[in-house]
Symmetry: none
């Protein structure tokens, strides 16, 4: 049942785009009643969130022995994830997530924080190896890795087939900056953590 709902969501998005995603259409396509959907998800956004963001695997990449290797693997992993759904879906989904405080929190915890943890792990490895003197702000690294890739696809609407190349480039740049100690331990106050 949940499977058919998930399949239906993807089907409808594929057919009519995120904007054409309708609960009725999902119910129809899944051969399921709307009530059944709402028994599982409290809103259309919850449903979409659950379906589309469920299987993003967020595991730390294997230790490649070098910071550059680790970052490259990580950037490629991010690139692969972000290339999955269409840019339209990604932007709409993010908009929906931001509009709902509940989803926002879950998104934060489920993906942002997890990815940040992975970044921290990678940085810690580099520290242990002696490649880094101090651990820079993982949020900064996250913005530097994820930012260009996400923007490439969603804002600039560029070719998704080149995200891997972009990932390599971004990883190299980040490595260089990290090695040079260009990234401070923190750039931000903790003020907006309370949001």
């Amino acid at each position: 049942m949940d499977v058919s709902i998930a399949a239906a969501v993807r089907e409808v998005i594929a057919a009519h785009g995120y904007g054409g995603l309708t609960v009725d259409a999902v119910a129809l396509s899944a051969g399921v009643s709307k009530a059944t959907i709402y028994r599982r998800y409290s809103s259309k956004q919850e449903m979409t969130f659950a379906v589309l963001l469920h299987d993003l695997e967020e595991v730390p990449p294997a230790d490649t022995g070098s910071l550059h290797g680790d970052l490259t693997a990580l950037a490629r992993q991010i690139a692969a994830q972000v290339s999955g759904p269409g840019g339209d879906t990604l932007s709409s989904l993010l908009a929906d997530i931001r509009a709902d405080p509940n989803l926002r929190a879950r998104f934060e915890q489920t993906f942002i924080a997890v990815e940040r943890g992975i970044i921290t792990t990678v940085l810690d490895r580099a520290l242990a190896r002696g490649e880094l003197a101090a651990r820079p702000d993982p949020v900064l690294v996250q913005a530097l890795l994820l930012g260009p890739l996400y923007t490439w696809l969603v804002v600039l609407d560029e070719d998704p087939t080149h995200t891997t190349d972009l990932a390599d480039l971004v990883a190299t740049m980040a490595t260089t900056a990290l090695a040079a100690g260009a990234l401070p331990a923190t750039i931000r106050s903790r003020s907006n953590r309370s949001r």
Copy 2:
């Protein structure tokens, strides 16, 4: 009239968020009839686009005499623009833009292309100065500058007050990469240009 509509749009968004943006509410707040709004904009999205993206000034920064200086100025300019509206507004607006082919094209031409032109100008200056041997792909530079800033605010939901610091960091990294000749002349095929 157009002014009062614009003011009303901003007012309503400030009061109820982008999700609470209603044409009727805008009409009411602007002291204008709905018909008048639709006489100007063919849809709510057109209206929002016109109002929120109208006055983003996109002028090339003054020549600072060095690539690093130029890129820093440019990144700060981007940061200032992107920090203007709330992250929610930004993400929703982008989603709406991507959902409408017409808006999409206008967004592409009005902002992406213009900003890319500015980047090209800055790179050409560096070439003229001899700071660069070849002109790298401006789209890459755009992704590297805009990406972290946009993501910082919209995806990671971080503190907007630190975008300037992040801009400086990003400009420095980009300068380093450019000086090292790390950015290829092109990373992408021209295939998706026809979209």
Copy 3:
């Protein structure tokens, strides 16, 4: 539900006249949503038609034993029906019906044709009794009976309390004309039947 809609329609017409009949007002008064109304009726006119012309009973009057008696009963029945709603409602309703080909056809079949059938029945009885030699055109009889009554109320805007007297008069005149064989079997070509 249908009942409350019907009641609401009549209520709103009573309060604000046919011209003040608004779907929103009906919905409000019925404690029902506009969507519910449009789920039942495809337009405001369909709704009004259904509500106001639903319960007009069109049964042949009991055989009184004479053509004059039958026609009198019939004319009074028509008078009673036509006196029901206000003249304003009647004229506006008819205008709306004529403006919509669909309603027009249904009106024709549901009321005009049914009433004509009743007239035919009455005429056939008279034929069987030997009161008539040949059966005259029922449409003529219909025009002669219905015409003065409808016009009295709707065009001339005269007192509805006298329709019964007028009905008797009209029935007597029709009887006289029929007995004298003054009404031809047909006055019209069949040309406009195809409309």
Copy 4:
């Protein structure tokens, strides 16, 4: 100017029916601005009223020497008038007239009362000739003459080409009834005159 407006009204009605009659369309078709129309007529209904009911000549028919002849001439005159515009126009126009108290009064005075005056004239002639003993209620006669004709066209939607035949029939029936003294001097109270 007034002429072109009148022509435009008829044109638009011919092209799109009474329901498609729009002030903008009239203005466009007449090559005139909407303001000019509203300078002449205070509403769309006034305009239509003025244009469509302006030239209905209501003069007493020549004395034919007999009541039957006079009534036949009168009935034919009515039939001609009523056959002019389409049944749709007639019914919608009447509905609009009834909805507006001002138009209603003018309609009453301009057409109903005038026609009634003509009927009175005809009846007076018959009285003078000795064909009638007493003068019956002219309103009754009006209902008997106008009713079947109007209903034939507007309610029953029958062939307009046969209105002349129907007029003759109606005139004959009315003559018979009048000669027999079947029509009372009054059927109605004066109560609703104050409406």
